[in-house]
Symmetry: C2
Subunit: 308 residues, 2 copies
């Protein structure tokens, strides 16, 4: 079985043909150039896809992971914050028409958790929570082996779990969403807010990566921010463990590259928020697909449909 | 189709034979007398069940709703806080042996939400959240038509969603669980804590019922507590709407008898915590099964199994 996984991002479109063992047989990458409009993006995406499909025989399915609100059933992007003008665009149909290969479209956070189930640390599990810590915080949930979609397909917005009702205003209009604390944006903001208390800190540009690197080196501002971020994640994961009784929680996205220092703190604060009867029922891990998580996620959507 | 629904409570065991139209054909009730031990409770439950089954022909299934941690698959009560000594007791098997009718055992909060799907306000819906506000706060979730159980069958602990990480200590060991605020116990405690600020209040015994009745009459202490309780529910329901994208949320349990004054406040504070893109995707209602919710819930577990 061979599936072409397409990871549609705001800057690049990355794609690869993947087999069921998670081997990448060929890959391709083009710029998204959103400003050129939907039709041109579709063209560039299909051209790159066709190039790959012609190179490797036997691709039976294309899976696309896209940010935004996705109508999986009809293969439509309802809207996507970083893709202006993409309102109810039939992305799956357009790609299918050009490539002559059946296409499945899915939200990128749902694709992430499915990718972990097929090719990542959650292989063989049926009850999985995926959290991506990037510019925002995304989420996907597999419960009893099935992707949680919700009635209108807009569920699993785990970044908008409220971890502090009196917390920071979130882009979504709420206060104290997990995303305000555990996204790259949130980490950056927290570091700026706390810097006056830590004049000796070496943090200069306040990117999430710099803050996490600093924390690893023992920089006290970095350590402080890491603690706040991990507490917020611990609060959210505590609630999620009580709700979903998952076997495994996989954390991905750019911020997860912080590695062990993040993981050990998240584990500690999560345990503080979990009932005894749930201790030992879950593990928390970092994704090891990081760079290709988007491609594997997209491909897994294809594999999942072939299998079902 | 006729199912015998048994609502196992700490004080009483209520049961009735229900048909698929939600009509009660016969009912019975015995004291639980937990202190007499598992064997005697089983005996009393089966005797009462047999009496009913002999009265009404054609009962094809028994559904039991039980508090505590339930192993649905094996029909076992793992443990139940108010049933001391009930550790891994094979309740389903014991009742089946005596009644000669096939038995399904389910957690009472799961039974509640299933009862709403079969016989209550969520009839015909596939994505449903049920919350029971009683001595504690229980929860059940149906997503894509299926009961959410979690990997070990202990999921949907909606009372232990953390609504304030710096909140009150909860019986579960956490801080700021929904249960600390929105249970009858929580309401009673909140009223006692705030009473000094409201010397003119007429609230005397501080039961949840009295507090809610007082709120309805405009008593300022009652109104204050109602507001705090509704805010906590709004925070939890906001998160749950983002997670499950449900069509309907049904609130039951003794506290829900407070009626419209509770419902209107919960609606208001929930909306404050819900993203615009989820507005108009959900309704919030109070259960109208109240007195028989336990029986209907238990019966629905039987009907669900017959149907599947």
């Amino acid at each position: 079985m061979k599936v072409l996984g397409i990871d549609l991002g705001g800057t690049n479109i990355a794609m690869a043909i993947v087999n069921e063992n998670g081997e990448i047989l060929a890959r391709n990458k083009v710029e998204t150039k959103v400003h050129e409009g939907f039709a041109r993006v579709v063209e560039r995406m299909s051209d790159a896809a066709i190039e790959l499909i012609e190179k490797v025989n036997g691709v039976s399915k294309i899976g696309i992971g896209s940010p935004g609100s996705i109508d999986h059933e009809n293969g439509i992007v309802r809207f996507s914050p970083n893709f202006p003008g993409w309102i109810n665009v039939p992305l799956a149909e357009e790609i299918e028409k050009r490539t002559k290969v059946n296409v499945s479209l899915e939200n990128d956070a749902n694709a992430f958790v499915m990718g972990e189930k097929w090719f990542g640390k959650a292989k063989g599990y049926t009850d999985i929570i995926g959290i991506t810590l990037g510019t925002g915080v995304g989420g996907g949930v597999i419960t009893g082996g099935k992707l949680l979609r919700g009635h209108d397909g807009i569920g699993a917005e785990l970044g908008h779990i409220i971890v502090d009702p009196n917390g920071y205003p979130c882009g979504c209009g709420n206060h104290g969403c997990l995303e305000t604390m555990a996204s790259a944006t949130g980490i950056s903001r927290l570091a700026k807010e706390w810097k006056e208390r830590y004049p000796e800190s070496t943090i200069k540009n306040f990117s999430a990566k710099e803050v996490m690197d600093a924390a690893r080196m023992g920089d006290q501002l970095g350590v402080k921010v890491l603690e706040i971020v991990s507490q917020s994640l611990g609060t959210a994961l505590g609630s999620l463990i009580h709700i979903f009784n998952p076997q495994i929680i996989v954390i991905g996205g750019g911020v997860s590259r912080a590695g062990d220092i993040l993981l050990s703190n998240v584990k500690k604060y999560t345990r503080e928020n979990v009932m005894r009867s749930f201790w030992n029922t879950y593990e928390i891990v970092l994704s090891d697909l990081v760079d290709d998580a988007g491609i594997f996620g997209a491909a897994s959507i294809g594999f999942e449909e072939i299998e079902s």
